[in-house]
């Protein structure tokens, strides 16, 4: 009998298993494939290896701005793949080692729920006081004629040894946009069809505008008012039929799709009464309990943002609750990191959402273009936007776009978690010159005393 059986060895399940074990639970983790899940093997980590390569290439190409005239003789994609595999392998090994070190039993195989207290793995039955479902997500190819055959998956991009000559990317989420940047940097002709909701539909207007501008500057062809209707094979290529202001066809080598859906099939969930939410994920309450007592669910399997860090932090909460604590998961404190050019880091609600709620707002905005370090490094694309409540100064959302945004957003998460007000953040000190100064400056702007911006009265519309 285990105290906790965790199903899924991605970042969520891994964190949950260790946390439950730290709380002196007898824990088993069941993984059907490789430890690390999508994040380590086919997601976050591999894309960051590739994006680093793209970044370096980009930096070398524009090094002449600093008087360095260099040319790139060769890009060895195989070396990138090897490096990617190496990093993923190191992380997997570390994970397995740490699970063992924490006394978590790693069981290989596919888990099926037999009852709310029993998990079957390859014929044997594990008895569990509590079960944590951390099964992640899988690719979800939109149901369009011909798309499945033409589909280039992110898995394939991450293994590529030859860059396709042209790709149509269908979708507008963080993965699609990161893929656009990546492929474009390696000289692939990229068409982006974001669909009816536009780029990054869940993000604030300001980063959306910056990212749109960034993609255009990189030479990604943005087909904003078009939608993909069908794909046909034609002369070794694919012909994408687009609807829009006028019907249009595009001949491309492949069509990249990366939308994802929660991994919940064939696990016996329905049979034991685990209910789903409107996103097709497992429905959980604030304590991450499912509709069946004793069963928790975390991460991509619950739908929502589908972010690795959301999953691992949910894993901690679920494990603690499984071990008898009672804590709520702070859904509103999940940051988003998007590795486009420029980068995006965001947490909390957007300006539009805040206005919809009828909150009286104070918005602080500080452009990178007058941040000292941004100027010195010639990375002036971007800004920090802080949305705060006018009454109490509560920070409701922070939207950073530009260099280091994915790192800087941590400041905002901490401020919001500790319920720091914009007025307090405005008085915080940052090293100079750093991008982090822009965060404090934006907080000052939200508090009506931006030091390095023209007077508000001149700017007010």
């Amino acid at each position: 009998m285990y105290d906790v059986v965790v199903i899924g060895g991605g970042p969520g399940g891994y964190a949950a298993a260790i946390r439950a074990s730290q709380l002196e639970g007898k824990v088993a983790l069941v993984e059907a494939a490789e430890m690390g899940g999508t994040c380590v093997n086919r997601g976050c980590i591999p894309t960051k290896v590739w994006l680093r390569a793209a970044y370096l290439l980009h930096q070398i190409r524009k090094a002449d701005e600093f008087g360095i005239n260099a040319s790139v003789e060769e890009v060895d994609l195989k070396a990138i793949v090897t490096r990617k595999n190496g990093v993923a392998g190191d992380i997997r090994m570390g994970m397995e080692g740490l699970l063992g070190n924490n006394g978590v039993e790693l069981i290989r195989g596919r888990a099926v729920l037999k009852s709310p207290r029993e998990v079957t793995v390859e014929g044997s039955i594990l008895e569990a006081e509590k079960i944590i479902l951390a099964t992640g997500s899988c690719l979800n190819v939109p149901d369009l004629p011909g798309l499945e055959e033409a589909a280039l998956t992110t898995d394939q991009v991450l293994e590529m040894t030859k860059v396709p000559s042209s790709v149509l990317i269908y979708g507008s989420g963080p993965i699609e946009l990161e893929m656009a940047t990546l492929l474009k940097t390696f000289a692939c002709k990229v068409y982006l069809v974001p669909g009816p909701d536009g780029l990054l539909p869940r993000e604030d207007r300001t980063p959306r505008q910056w990212v749109t501008k960034g993609l255009k500057q990189q030479g990604v062809e943005l087909l904003r008012h078009f939608n993909l209707e069908s794909v046909q094979k034609s002369k070794g290529q694919y012909r994408a039929n687009l609807s829009g202001p006028e019907d249009r066809t595009l001949n491309v080598e492949r069509v990249l799709v990366s939308s994802r859906k929660p991994n919940i099939a064939h696990m016996g969930l329905e049979k034991i009464g685990v209910r789903l939410n409107e996103n097709g994920g497992i429905r959980v309450n604030k304590m991450l309990e499912t509709s069946v007592e004793g069963i928790f669910a975390i991460g991509d399997a619950t739908g929502g943002w589908m972010l690795a860090h959301a999953s691992s932090s949910m894993g901690v909460t679920a494990a603690e609750n499984a071990m008898g604590k009672k804590s709520n998961f702070a859904f509103h404190l999940i940051p988003r990191g998007i590795w486009t050019v420029p980068e995006v880091g965001a947490v909390g609600i957007t300006e539009k959402e805040a206005k919809k709620k009828g909150i009286d707002l104070k918005i602080g905005d500080f452009p990178y273009s007058i941040d000292g370090l941004a100027m010195a490094r010639n990375e002036m694309e971007g800004s920090v936007k802080i949305i705060s409540d006018a009454r109490y100064g509560e920070i409701l959302g922070v939207h950073i776009v530009g260099a280091c945004a994915t790192e800087l957003i941590g400041e905002a998460v901490l401020a919001m978690q500790l319920e720091c007000t914009a007025r307090e953040l405005a008085r915080s000190i940052r090293a100079h010159p750093t991008f982090s100064e822009a965060v404090v400056d934006a907080a000052r702007d939200a508090s009506n005393w931006a030091l390095y911006l023209p007077k508000r009265s001149c700017m007010d519309e």
């Binding site: 009454r391 109490y392 100064g393 509560e394 500790l418 319920e419 720091c420 007000t421 007025r423 307090e424």
Partner: protein, 430 residues
Amino acid sequence: MAINVTMPKWGLTMKEGKVTRWYKSEGDPVHKGEDLFEVETEKITNRAESPGSGTLFQIVVPVGTTVPVGTILAVIAEPGEQPERVEGIQVGEVMEGAGASAEGRAAAEEPGEKKFVPASPAARRLAKELGIDLGLVQGTGPDGRITETDVRRYHEEGPAAPKITPLAEEMAKQEGLDISTITGTGEGGKITREDVERALERTTSIPLTGMRKTIADNMYASLQSTAQVTVFTEVDVTEMVRLRDLVQEEHKKDDTVKVSFNDIIILATSRALKRFPMMNSALIGDEILLHDAVNIGIAVSLREGLIVPVLHDADKKGLLQIADESRELAQKAREGTLAVDDVTGGTFTISNVSMLEVDGFTPILRSPETGILGVGRVKEKPVVYDGEIAIRSMMFLSLTFDHRVLDGTPAMAFLETVARYLQHPALMMA
């Protein structure tokens, strides 16, 4: 072993207390839990129980002396034991929440068992010297261990303010919420936004406007600007009841005639006021104005609040007219059709709570009037009547008067007159 009885600590802010009473004398046997002494603090007076059983060997701190928390007040000896006598002010272990009924805050804190508090030996020694309960000191050492500096800081600065997030603090400030009343549920008991929201939910705020605002202002102003004294008397009103029944019987065929006890009380009061003009007066500036007219205000309770229509020239009106007019005024008050004249010019007020099954109360003067009569319910009680126990209808009257205008003796004489009129209504004719 002898037990030292020390000045207890009730609540976070208590630093010292005054012994106001010893329930036992030296040499008396005492039992654990029995009331031993009384302590007066800034906020309350409270009885303290004996922390043990034995003989009260020595009372160290006499009645009337104020000493810091933790000071040894007395020594309880076991039978046959002869402990050393305590000389002067000495510090012992602080008794926490040992009172018979500690005040609100103290009760909310964990009473009884002392928990182990991690502290350095130096900190323990200093705490003992200063009479500080280590449980109240915030430790800054590893794992919250209390250091000597922490104890000294506590001694100098008092208890630390509750931990609260900046946002929660701002919200509490703006909403006028006292943070010491909020329970923190965050890390280490920190008060968070949610806690403030929960605390705010518990209280509903109703804006003070309109009638409520007027009443609030008037009541407060009255108590602030006059010297009010209330006196009581219980009256045998059996004859008043009989009079009411008699009048009703006499006019039973006439639907328009309805006489209440209050009408008879108005009649009696108006007649008595003619004999005590000082009660029918107003102190304005440096002058006491004696009114010729007797205009009786009758307090009427409405859902929105209290209103006092005025029955003019009551002294010149008979019972039936008073009954008729007072009913009409009450009706107008309920319908909201009172005219300005109907609510102004009052010289004395009657407030009757008999319908609320209440015996008595201390009415607040309607400034600048000098008197207000409070009327309780009529209740049949066994009383001594004519040398025998009989069942009689009894009623309390309370009179609040402005002591600036007149003294107790004339005011009580007035009340007695009203009482006699109600006891023997025929006297109103004389």
